[in-house]
């Protein structure tokens, strides 16, 4: 189908975009990469009067390593640019590992990191990565700038804490500690489809080799990415043996309440959360051993 008629405006500066957002309010949708928005328009699930197109705002795109060790990525940065970036590969290997799982190359060539986060699809990879990494999402409006912890940002299905006049402008990932291991896996009917369930994991160990911190985040199961706290707890203080991994995996479905839909039943998603947690932790521990031997 063809989208309903709308008017298009492409500001060249962030200030202009923020002013347009105030002026048009609920009559406008923000167009970044368009890879989720344009299908929504084509299917006429939305019919805004205005599209505020961010693609001419050069300052919203780019990848920088800050002196603090943080990785800062402009919201309009194409997913493909993140995927190809040597800076990202060094500064956040989990993010780098997740990128090829996002849809298909044609989508990643247009799709932006900020667009995916603001869209907040429960089955999308990037929200889960941000939660697993304790990323900071920077929002701006005419009222000012605020930093939002990823864990606070996602409210539910396609829902974030962004106010109507706010734009997501930058994503900052904390520095990646030496020796941190990670795992990333998802199951979809076909590669590139939205995940039925996915797991992003990080594992930190102290000098003695005991696990001192871990993040295990599931996506595609609840309405927003969710930390599997019981599974994380099961790992702390031990050395990541197969017994510990199995204990963490069996705790992985605690607190999850997946929906049943035409892709998979709730029970199947719970089973996947356990299996993928186990596999993601095995990936992580293999990598930890590899890191150590280098």
């Amino acid at each position: 189908m063809k989208p309903a008629a709308f008017d298009h405006v492409a500001p060249e500066t962030l200030d202009q975009a923020l002013a347009l957002l105030v002026r048009h309010g609920d009559d406008a949708k923000i167009l970044a990469g368009g890879q989720s928005l344009v299908p929504v328009l084509a299917l006429r699930l939305a019919s805004p009067s205005w599209l505020i197109d961010l693609n001419r705002i050069a300052s919203l795109s780019g990848i920088r390593r800050l002196e603090s060790g943080e990785l800062a990525i402009g919201a309009l940065t194409r997913q493909r640019m993140v995927e190809r970036s040597d800076v990202v590969a060094l500064a956040n290997p989990l993010l780098a590992a997740a990128m090829p799982w996002i849809a298909h190359v044609q989508i990643r060539n247009r799709g932006t990191i900020g667009g995916s986060l603001a869209h907040a699809d429960p089955a999308a990879e990037l929200p889960a990565i941000c939660v697993a990494c304790d990323a900071i999402l920077v929002a701006q409006s005419q009222r000012g700038r605020r930093e939002i912890a990823a864990a606070e940002f996602f409210k539910g299905m396609f829902e974030t804490v962004l106010a109507a006049d706010e734009l997501l402008v930058e994503i900052r990932f904390p520095g990646w500690p030496v020796g941190r291991a990670h795992g990333f896996l998802e199951v979809a009917r076909r590669h590139g489809d939205f995940a039925i369930c996915g797991i992003a994991a990080t594992v930190d160990r102290n000098d003695g080799g005991s696990i001192c911190d871990s993040r295990i985040v599931a996506f595609g199961v609840n309405d927003a990415p969710v930390r599997l706290a019981a599974a994380e707890r099961a790992l702390i203080g031990n050395r990541g043996t197969s017994d510990a991994i199995l204990a963490a995996a069996s705790a992985a479905s605690t607190g999850l309440s997946p929906r049943s839909d035409h892709h998979a039943s709730s029970e199947y998603r719970l089973e996947l959360a356990q299996v993928l947690t186990r596999r993601a932790l095995i990936q992580s521990m293999r990598q930890a051993l590899h890191n150590k031997s280098n």
């Binding site: 189908m1 063809k2 890879q35 298909h104 060539n109 247009r110």
Partner: protein, 168 residues
Amino acid sequence: MIESRDIELTVNGEARRGRCEPRMTLVDFLRETLSLTGTHIGCEHGVCGACTVLLDGESVRACLMFAVQADGANVTTVEGLAPPGEMNDLQRAFQAFHALQCGFCTPGILTTVTALLRENPNPTEDQVRHAISGNICRCTGYQPIVQAILDCARSRARVIATDGGRAK
């Protein structure tokens, strides 16, 4: 009434201009306004890959962007892969390996693979399958498509090896 816009872009190396409503997708603009009907429209919501074109060298779905967004851009469609009436080596490989039956998906796959081989001239079979995972073909079962792409890449490598030897 929403006003139409004039846009200017380069398509297959030629400067083109046209008028479009903001809601007109790039693929409709190419087909309806510029009469370049080589690019096909399948699902019209970003799933099938039939409408893939190269935008500033990168493969993109032309149904998922608006023509007004391509103002000033450089677009290559399947018509731009070889001079009119001719086929390039990739297209000849598709013919030789029977990598198409109805041909509806072919323009999107050819443009996708053009970008792939530019970035990765010597892909593995697995990389080829990944690269075309966003293009749906309902006829071939993909087997001959993958073979054609691998054969084209091998032939190009041989040509480079031969030329390289002569140049020395």
